[in-house]
Amino acid sequence: MKIRLEVIKDVREICQQHKDEPSPLIVILEEVQKKYGYVPVELQEVISEETGVPAAEIYGVVTFYSFFSLTPKGKYVIHVCLGTACYVKNAQNVLDKICTILGIKPGETTEDGLFTIEAVRCMGACALAPAVSINGRVFPRVQATEVDKILNEYRSKEGK
């Protein structure tokens, strides 16, 4: 994958901003993830050059934490909460339904790059169980039968 030069420059800058902090690797990775939506191996190598942390170790960290992604995510990231409070209220059915409609599994992105589904563990919105969030907007007490309507709202926004 070819990474644009200005992105590389920006990532170097992010590294520089944190160079005086003790062990800033995860802080840097979080900033890159938030800004670009993923941390590909090419950028990990850049971070390695800047911080002196071996690239293998960085790869180890990136793949350890669920917050980091090696591939770009869809325009809309759907989080289906599978925390206990949501699970006992049938969140699994909601997740299954979204997967069936979009034809992808949790962790995957649709071919058109529109949606990514992720099963997450507790968003702390247990009173709204089962909860689904799309790019941070929380849909409370979602029933499997309402999923279509919610997805269509986003599809029509994109003219699809």
Binding site: L25, V61, Y87, G124, V138, A144
Partner: protein
Amino acid sequence: MEKILNPEALDQKIAECTEKLNDKLAGKGGKRAILVCGGTGCLANDSQPIFDKIAEELKARNLEDKVSVTRVGCFGMCSQGPFVKILPEDTLYCKVKPSDVERIMTEGIEGGKIIEDLLYVDPVSGEKIVHQSDIPFYKKQQKVALHGVSTIDPLVIDEALGCDGFKALRKVLTSMKPQEVIDEVLKSGLRGRGGGGFPTGRKWQFAANVNAPQKYIVCNGDEGDPGAFMDESMLEGNPYAVVEGMEIAGYAFGATEGYFYVRAEYPVAVARLKNAIAEMRKAGLIGKNILGTGWNFDVHLREGAGAFVCGEETALLNSIEGKRGMPRPRPPYPAIKGLWGCPTCVNNVETLAQIGYIIRVGGENFAKVGTEGSKGTKVFALGGKVNNVGLVEVPMGTTLRTLIYDIGGGIPGGKKFKAIQTGGPSGGCLTEKDLDTPIDYDTLVARGSMMGSGGAIVMDEDNCMVDVAKFYMDFICDESCGKCSPCRIGTKRIYELLTEIVEGRGTIETLEELKDLAKITKNNSLCALGQTAANPISSTMANFYDEYLAHIQDKKCPAHVCKSLSRYYIDPEKCKKCSACARACPVNCIKGVPGKEPYVIDQSKCIKCGTCMGTCKFGSIIHE
């Protein structure tokens, strides 16, 4: 805010802010106050637009001199949110929508009327309750760790100063030796609220006894138990109290730097904590020469990156150090060798939130509440199949019955209580027979569960306990860091065995194998994650063995949850031949002739999604 240079200046500031806050809450001079809940649950339910609209309306109606509006932290009774509370009357409106704001302003604020349909309805008596203080949910609670949450504006340091903030910090810095602080906490009997239940004072004492140039205090805000949000609410509602607790801990055992480690999944908590740290820095309550006493303390904030195991203290320290969050063998304990090799105490958010109170009232007074071995109060996140889902703080020793029925308002829909899971994926379930047990650290362990961080998930007759056990094991498999084989492989094999059972392939031998594996994983794992991983299995097997047997011998799931063991069929007598189910079926497995022949589900194609059952208006679809 100007820097507070000495203890006397702080006293004056506290006096001013206390008067101001008390006046606001008491409605002095006829000025009323509206509080809007700004906890994560309510924010997800439009509480921000409600707040904005109220502010807008106050301006438009020229009421700004007569009524104030504040966004506060979590009210606790999250399933009834968003909340709008009117003071000094103490009128509480529940499930408010942005479209209700106009009525609240016109009829409530200007018209002096009570808006009946926004009041809380008691699920037991059906009675409408006007005042928050009369609602049973709040009556049996005692707020210590949650002090100030749902009262103060968490973004305004003055409100924290008006709500007992920093009095304890002043007291320790000006009149107590570090050892006296530790002694006070020892006297209080406070035990770690994160799950371990280790006496906080003893932990501090270990670190104090080590002579080292650099020590750290770390606040564990990596609340990983799915279904628990106590720490989140404290950080969102009154972050100042937690930072103050951290500073007192640092003073007590000689740390001059503190790290907060908070889940990235809690953006609101992170933002409010960041703001609190910045405000305290401006006020001179963090930094060099605090209150002119010559004592220095600095605070940093690190966000987690999504790993449950980082709730384990040594894994957390590795994560702060920028490494994979894998636990370290203990000993050496962090109090001897922790962050970057320096003596470190890791304390939970709720533990630190209790410290200020202990210093203010004294350890002995704190210890008056609670049971023999567990002192003070505990915050629980009550969730699942209970009417009042939310956050509750009760004295140690409260019974589960009080928690679930008096405070929680019982089980919704007239369903039967089945179990309550405490301690999250590391804990166990308690049943009907345990309802009158006073809950504390020791009684819960004696009954095969544990306190954990305070997650309490209620389950009813519709939940399958084998499925719940499998759910927890799936979680643990996902979150096992992979460092030690008993946990990495053991949990995976347990998960596979449970899958066999829920898919109808289990035998009696499977159960024996499960028991063995549970023991092996428990005895041989490196950290608490693996050591406790099998608890949900052991406890559901102990309490619901017949459910396991039903899956294995009768190939039935009594709660109709496990898809492989259940089926949907249409009662031909009741079928109205309307074709609604066939049209709704996502896999086209229902056939019939409209108006002529009753519909039939092709069992070989059915994916058991239940859509047909939701569609049929005549109750002719049966699930067994």
